[in-house]
């Protein structure tokens, strides 16, 4: 009995320790956002009274609202487009699979091994020639179809009951109809997981928007934050406030889809 209690205590102790390690940086960031730069560097851990001042500086010195809106717009469009395209592809690879498609899938997976920096220059030339610099389409297109998402959807399509497809066919649904009216609703937890991952990646994307978003009005949050670190004198309070605000959308999305997310990544279907 005592042994069990001891085990439990140490288990909770361990978990508390790990939670502390993961939450402390967040806590520190939010505390720093309320303090002056000097206090932040002084290592304070107590919330200060400089939050409003930091916010004023942030909105006065940068195109903060514009960057937030841009990031949100680009990330939302990218998420919707890539969920649709990648899930269609993943579904197709699994449901209609033959040798050729399996081979193609393997080639697709190989593309995971090519770092973005390698294709950056040619991609930039292509987008420049197509006139897609500084546009939402320019932001979204390179990540609309990713090997990772297609793979995720292909794997989870395996759990999609084939009986549903056969029954729907008998009831007269078209193949496209089956996908939209059966597959999507049933696989919503996979969609939730994919949405969180894609939104987060799009929101945090740095290198690609850096080179194609060359107009001030097209700038995203990561670029804005990068600018905040560029001066001879860095205002850490303002910087942490900007970082703190910029993680909120991803955090809210994650919390809203948390339950589905866990199911989605473990690959269950309902």
């Amino acid at each position: 009995m005592n042994k069990q209690k001891l085990f439990r205590a140490s288990k909770y102790g361990f978990l508390i320790f790990i939670s502390f390690c993961s939450l402390f940086p967040l806590f520190w960031m939010f505390v720093a956002a309320t303090n002056t730069s000097v206090d932040v560097l002084g290592g304070t851990l107590i919330p200060g009274f400089n939050l409003i001042e930091n916010f004023k500086v942030l909105t006065a010195n940068t195109n903060f609202y514009q960057a937030m809106w841009n990031s949100f717009k680009y990330a939302a469009v990218t998420t919707l487009a890539s969920l649709l395209v990648s899930s269609l592809a993943g579904y197709g690879f699994e449901i209609y699979h033959d040798r050729g498609k399996d081979m193609l899938m393997k080639v697709l997976l190989l593309s995971l091994m090519v770092p973005f920096a390698v294709i950056m220059v040619p991609l930039y030339m292509l987008f420049g020639n197509l006139g897609l610099l500084n546009t939402t389409a320019g932001f979204a297109l390179p990540t609309v179809s990713t090997a990772f998402l297609i793979f995720l959807f292909r794997q989870s399509s395996r759990n999609f009951p084939h009986e549903v497809i056969e029954a729907s066919r008998l009831d007269g649904l078209t193949e496209i109809g089956i996908f939209f009216r059966m597959f999507i609703p049933i696989m919503r937890s996979t969609y939730a997981a994919a949405a969180v991952i894609t939104f987060m990646n799009a929101w945090n994307n740095y290198l690609w928007p850096l080179i194609i978003m060359q107009k001030e009005s097209a700038k995203t949050m990561p670029l804005l934050i990068s600018n905040l670190t560029a001066g001879y004198t860095i205002d850490y309070g303002v910087l942490m406030l900007a970082v703190g605000i910029s993680i909120l959308p991803t955090l809210i999305l994650f919390l809203a889809l948390q339950k589905n997310f866990a199911e989605g990544v473990t690959g269950s279907a309902k």
Binding site: T36, S37, V38, L41, G42, G43, N61, T62, M120, V121, P122, Y124, M125, G128, N129, L133, N134, L207, L210, I211, Q214, K215, E216, L223, S226, N227, T229, A230, G231, Y232, T233, I234, Y236
Partner: protein, 423 residues
């Protein structure tokens, strides 16, 4: 009738179209990429305001881009040959200028014959913006190195700022260990594994890491060996403490853990926010390396300059803009100094009233006149194309030496690493 009306309407539309086109041509927009709203961007905005009076048809549009981001965008656009979206003017870190001009020889506009009087700028700075004898940039901010010290701490140990002026590193070490003993405070902090302080010391001797042919000169670089010896002694006697990153570096003197710092003059921007220390700081020149021939008390760290891009549609206008403002307006430098602390390398600005004003944070010391004076005495060196690579290999060598490797073998290694990278 209806047909005639349509023709007339179409003609009016066309006329209107042409007139707007001609109007649009008259108004020229010059775009600028630079970083730091409190410093460079602010200076650029003021310059734009001044130029508006001279040439009202020119519109200056500034975009904030962090330096690393600017370099990435520049390299990508130039490698991809997509120069349409590049700006007319960019701000360039001095230590990256030669490399960029060499990597993209046709990308930058040659300013040699643009009418800009380069002899009005600090000499060392103009040298940094020259490649193959051609001027590629208008010098901007002053990175002349300063030795900033807390006089209240010095006083505790019985010293004044004069005791640290025009001295050698030997004297600095001697007095520094005395201060450390009496007050417990080191005089310097440096980021472990970074070579900034060594670079400052190196330039103060007028030497660099390449010989006249641009070949690496590290393994047999006597000044460098002397510098490493001094650096080691500073560490051993705890006059210099090593810290881990830039934030800790700033915090080390802001919090008063160390009683001073040596860096480019722009570091003042990070010293003055600590209001409790107002009046306690002074600046002076650097210690010199007595054992190195030609060594001085002056050096440089950081700084940047304005370049005109060759792809610009109006390179002459862009050059004229820079000529009339950064290379010709004392008024500009007088405006930007008090609010941003951006110290010029434009020598005529040094005579101005504003530069002669005492600075209350530094106990009424006329720091700006001093810095302009330092800038005029900084030895000229050619950073070369592989400056960043050299800096990295030296940093590695320093880390190895501090963890016990002997100086010669670490430098030999650095030499061959650098040769390999340049090959």
């Amino acid at each position: 009738m209806k047909k005639k009306l349509t023709v007339l309407f179409l003609m009016i539309v066309m006329m209107a179209g042409f007139t707007t086109m001609t109007f649009a041509q008259e108004e020229t927009t010059i775009t600028v990429w630079c970083w730091d709203p409190n410093f460079n961007i602010y200076a650029m905005e003021e310059a734009a305001a001044i130029y508006k009076d001279i040439n009202p048809d020119v519109n200056i549009e500034i975009k904030e881009v962090a330096w690393e981001d600017l370099q990435t965008q520049l390299s990508t656009s130039l490698s991809a040959n997509q120069t349409d979206s590049l700006p007319d003017i960019i701000l360039m870190q001095d230590n990256a200028l030669a490399k960029n001009v060499n990597s993209f020889p046709n990308a930058f506009y040659d300013l040699s014959d643009s009418g800009i009087e380069f002899d009005k700028f600090a000499n060392f700075k103009v040298e940094l913006t020259k490649v193959d004898g051609k001027n590629y940039a208008v010098p901007f901010d002053n990175g002349a190195a300063i030795n900033a010290m807390r006089v209240d701490v010095l006083e505790e140990a019985g010293y004044t700022i004069e005791d640290f002026t025009n001295i050698t590193w030997e004297e600095f070490i001697e007095k520094g260990s005395d201060v450390k003993e009496k007050t417990g405070k080191p005089l310097l902090s440096a980021i472990a594994g970074q070579s900034d302080l060594l670079m400052i010391m190196m330039q103060s001797t007028g030497n660099w890491f390449f010989d006249q042919n641009g070949e690496p000169n590290i393994a047999d670089n006597e000044p460098l060996k002397e510098i490493i010896r001094v650096y080691q002694e500073l560490l051993e006697k705890e006059i210099l403490v090593q810290i881990n990153d830039w934030n800790q570096y700033i915090s080390s003197f802001q919090s008063g853990t160390v009683a001073g710092t040596m860096n480019g003059a722009w570091i003042i921007g990070s010293i003055v926010p600590v209001k409790e220390q107002a009046g306690n700081w002074r600046i002076t020149n650097l210690p010199r390396l007595a054992n190195v021939e030609g060594a001085t008390n002056y050096s440089n760290q950081g700084g940047s300059s304005w370049m005109v891009m060759a792809n610009s549609e109006h390179p002459e206008i862009a050059a004229d803009f820079l000529n009339q403002t950064f290379a010709g307006s004392k008024e500009l430098y007088e405006t930007i100094l008090p609010s941003s602390g951006a110290i010029a390398t434009y020598l005529p600005a040094g005579d101005s009233e504003v530069y002669n004003m005492p600075h209350p944070f530094f106990g009424g010391q006329k720091i700006y006149t001093e810095i302009i004076d330092y800038a005029a005495k900084v030895p000229e060196v050619d950073y070369g194309i592989y400056n960043y690579e050299a800096r990295d290999t030296i940093s590695t060598a320093i880390t190895q030496i501090m963890s016990g490797q002997d100086i010669q073998s670490a430098l030999d290694e650095a030499q061959s690493t650098l040769e390999f990278q340049m090959w």
